[in-house]
């Protein structure tokens, strides 16, 4: 290269040799801790079939895609309730997550976990969900909108009624 281009090359590379590592390190330093969602009781991780299970209807929640809803619960106290969602195929939610909420909004909602693709997911339902009417809300973080909501009422360790789609 001619001298002027070499000097420009040197200036560019020298500047980026400082800027790039700073951006890289700073970007890593500001990473948030991942939200822990693996809070399922041990009993529900491997042998949920030995417990009381109520299979609810599959309901159409997202763009013609049905989702299977199943609640598992301890037979004996202390009672834990676990919600199992099985999409029939890829939900295509942009950064989809699930909440349990006493109402249709997210104001007092409890975060359940991530909902992506077509794999079955299981979330432990909050203890407040037992014995009161609530809603399962599917939310897209990327698009910042509620995608679907259906009611889920648990009485003790048993789920009652069929969930109704939003």
């Amino acid at each position: 290269m001619i001298a002027s281009l070499r000097r420009r090359h040197f200036r560019i590379v020298s500047t980026l040799a400082v800027v790039i590592p700073v951006v890289f390190v700073a970007g890593l330093a500001v990473r948030s801790e991942p939200v822990e969602t693996d809070n399922l009781p041990t009993a529900f991780r491997d042998t949920p079939d030995t417990l009381n299970i109520t299979v609810l209807d599959t309901i159409e929640v997202v763009k013609g895609i049905s989702i299977g809803v199943r609640v598992s619960a301890d037979a004996l106290p202390p009672q834990h309730a676990v919600l199992e969602l099985t999409p029939e195929r890829d939900l295509r939610l942009a950064n989809g997550v699930a909440y349990w909420s006493p109402g249709r909004g997210l104001d007092d909602a409890f975060f359940l976990g991530s909902l992506q693709g077509s794999r079955t997911v299981r979330f432990q339902l909050p203890s407040v969900s037992l014995g009161q009417e609530g809603f399962i809300i599917l939310y897209s973080v990327a698009r910042r909108e509620v995608v679907a909501a259906f009611s889920l009422t648990l009485s003790g360790a048993m789920a009652e009624g069929a969930p109704r789609g939003s």
């Binding site: 001619i2 281009l5 790039i20 890289f24 970007g27 990473r31 794999r119």
Partner: protein, 355 residues
Amino acid sequence: MGHNYGAVGWNRQKKVYDTVVASGVVLYVATFVGINLTLSDPPTIETLLIRAFATAALLLLHVVLCIGPLARLDSRFLPLLYNRRHLGVMTFLLGLAHGVFAIVQFHVPGNVNPFVSVLVSNTRLDSLSQFPFQPLGVAALAILFLMAATSHDFWLANLTAPVWKALHMMVYVAYALLIAHVTLGVLQAETNPFLTIIMGIGLVVVLTLHILAATKERAVDQMALAAGGEGFVDVCAVGDIPEKRARVANVGGERVAVFRYDGKISCVSNVCQHQNGPLGEGKIVDGYITCPWHGYQYCPDTGASPEPFTERIPTFQVTVRNGRVLVDPQPNPPGTPVRPATFDSDHASQLGESP
């Protein structure tokens, strides 16, 4: 080589080169997708393709950036320089594929134009962890597109080598944008340290190679040359120059190449008119100075390319005195014939001058 457009000068070597590169890309993508599909909880095919194209593009960009300094440090890497622009075009194509799949997956389902969405959906400019990383990727892709679109020699000739080279130096800006795109994007949520470590290693390798090459090149520019009388500069001894090879020196702020061949000494600009390649690192082939980068040739005593080619490089007056090569720092206009200085084993001096 004129300023008229000519089709790509395909030859067997280029075809083999491109076939190998394309095959490597296909193999990489297939392997990446295949391995991930064997995992217990694989992502969707679309997600895997997004990741495969992204990692392939980033990996290839690192290779492209390393070729330059490697060639400076060791001439055995020069063959990689020959078709480097083909790798650059492939990098752009892979980045484009990644961008298209990502826009389709994340922005098409919305009610906003997806191309607008990718730029405006995230307005968190006040947060580093949630910074809009996607526009950074778009900006990098735009630079790579500019470079790919002007990679043909047609643009090199019409933009002139210095302008073209300055444009293609933006690859460093694209690299910085991509590092930021990845760091502020996928690395914010990726818990597996593998990608972070690989990125860090790539960054360190690229920067280290550049620093080493710069250090080596700086030694040439800082070489102090003694005055040789009558305005000439003492470059080196005749014996310091191998036969059919050159000695590079910094004379008057620019590098010159002093060639020795058949008992003669000629001095020309070290900068090839094609892509500013280092002529002094080439050799005399069939009586012509041959650039080590792409084989462009110049007559050593006129600085002109053989017909029908029209490239010209500046020449310099040169003389040999007491076995020392002396060069006049004032360059002659490109293509100016200069009688080569001659020498014999007894160090007889003769003056090389324009006829």
